[in-house]
Amino acid sequence: MEKILKEQPNIKDWGIDADPENDPTYPMKPNRTDEEQNGYTWERPALQKPTVEILKSTERPNLTAVFGTTLPPKGLSGMIRRNAYKKSEGQFSHWLPLLIADRVDVIEGIIDDLSKGKIPNIYAEIGFKAMWKYNRKAAIARIAAHVAVASAIGLVLFRGRIFNDEKLIKKALKNI
């Protein structure tokens, strides 16, 4: 310690919290109380009443004393989530379906917006204004990507329309 202190860096408050006891070269647990050795026995806080569907990890016997009640599972994403919660946290079959449900939820979110008469302003949502101001190159690349996707969708719909629209087909056949 003496030797090291001689070459102490010139930093304000250097070493004020140095703790030679905190040397975890071997794993250690400071302030060991062994509280957890008593198992699931603590005096529980008052229990919040579930007013909506709360999904629960299989790795515990009950709901926690408090929980969030935002956004209960619903729709197709909700069905996927309910199934995912039947598997323990140690399994990929718990987490991967949840990620898939998240993506389904995004589509359901857009449908939900539209059903409320709200067309989501995706450019505003991705912070395009900031991108345009501070990173013009990325903003232009983003537009190009959107145009490409939109044209591909347009093409599919347009072709679909030709082959599904009887009048158009008849008209086309007449002209042959």
Binding site: I4, G15, P20, D23, T33, I54, L98, V106, I122
Partner: protein, 384 residues
């Protein structure tokens, strides 16, 4: 009330939402005066955290004023200005009684690995967060801490996560006087970890990142060395070389799942989600630390799994210590450090934006535009 609203990867907006309600006798409602966007919010923003439901309000770093109290809240009164630790902790379960407030067993029914966190998906309890005008705060007798007279709200808001997490990163490193500490990541947490490493007596502090403005910032703020891994061919080789070819005593991963620097990790971790985020920083930390050294992880990863050189952990006899910061445990000491000027958190805040502009704020922070280090959001009901 106005609140941030998640719509899908890379898409967020500010939108009207119903006011939060008291749902438990120990709840309170806090009117938010400041809230931050955190690096770990970017994992949610990018859609990498399972069970992030569309419509969620993010935000686990906020301060505000108590405007409503549950029937069993005795430690707060209306009008109190509080800083709210990001962990939701009961203070009674066996984990809380050991000071492991990030691991409370009575706040998150959806997962046992982590306690409840405000605005951090249903994997962390399904609570709405503080990037809103009002927020429900459970366990109000335990978590919220009254902001000391005279403390700037900008300092206070960084005591909810950034300062304790950076401090605990250094603390878990078990830094001994004279130790060389390498920190991966010069975001707010990495910057704070560098600053705090000196408080534990580090002999040398080195920060590795790829953003020049952040490297310059940390060099000045924490008075440490900083290097850009893009101009170093191999960061591990570089660290070995600069530490007498033995490696650093302590390495800190202050990046987590959004790490850049390895194409393989980026593709498997961030683009295809085959692993729970890109583990580049942790990979480097394990390989750069000295044999018998300590790796401290505060960067956040998803719950599935990551590609890390665990064989080297064994062969080098490395100790890994990691946790979500136990904010409430550290607050007394850290409030003191802030009041004495040892730590000056608010210098990290580079952007102040109205909550209404939350989409642009996320884009600026996520893409590191306009030399952004830490943005804070001001709700319309909070007067500056």
């Amino acid at each position: 009330m106005l609140a941030m609203n998640y719509r899908g990867p890379g898409r967020v907006r500010a939108e009207e939402k119903p006011m939060p309600e008291i749902l438990h006798p120990e709840d309170c409602i806090v009117k938010v005066l400041r809230s931050c966007i955190c690096g770990s919010d970017l994992h949610l923003y990018n859609g990498n955290v399972p069970d992030t439901r569309v419509g969620t309000t993010f935000g686990h770093e906020f301060v505000g004023e108590v405007v409503e109290l549950g029937s069993e809240v005795h430690k707060l009164k209306l009008g109190d200005k509080v800083l709210v630790p990001f962990n939701i902790a009961c203070g009674k379960c066996s984990f809380c009684r050991q000071g492991l407030y990030g691991n409370c067993h009575e706040s998150n029914p959806e997962a046992t690995a982590v306690g409840g966190i405000f605005g951090y998906s249903h994997t962390a309890g399904g609570y709405d967060g503080g990037q809103a005008e009002y927020v429900r705060v459970p366990y109000a007798n335990f978590g919220p801490t009254i902001i000391p007279e005279g403390m700037d709200l900008d300092d206070a808001v960084l005591l909810t996560d950034v300062v304790p997490t950076g401090y605990q990163a250094a603390e878990m490193g078990g830094i001994q006087p004279g130790d060389t500490v390498v920190i991966f990541g010069a975001g707010p947490i990495g910057i704070m970890a560098a600053k705090c490493s000196w408080l534990f007596g580090a002999g040398r502090v080195i920060v590795i990142d790829q953003n020049e403005f952040r490297l310059e910032f940390v060099k000045n703020y924490a008075k440490c060395e900083s290097y850009n891994f893009k101009s170093i061919e191999d960061p591990v080789q570089f660290i070995k070389q600069t530490t007498d070819w033995l490696g650093a005593d302590v390495c800190i991963d202050a990046v987590g799942a959004e790490a850049a620097g390895s194409a393989m990790q980026t593709i498997t971790g961030r683009k295809t989600l085959l692993q729970a985020g890109s583990a580049t920083a942790l990979f480097w930390a394990i390989n750069s630390v000295k044999k018998g050294g300590i790796v401290s992880i505060v960067g956040v990863y998803g719950p599935t799994g990551n590609l890390v050189p665990i064989g080297n952990v064994l062969n080098k006899g490395i100790t890994i210590r990691a946790n979500q910061a136990s904010v409430k445990r550290l607050l007394p000491k850290l409030i003191d450090h802030v009041q004495k000027g040892t730590i000056k958190p608010k210098e990290l805040i580079t952007h102040r934006m109205p909550l209404r502009n939350v989409s642009d704020a996320y884009r600026i922070f996520s893409d590191k535009l306009d030399n952004c280090i830490k943005p804070i959001l001001i709700p319309p009901t909070a007067k500056e």
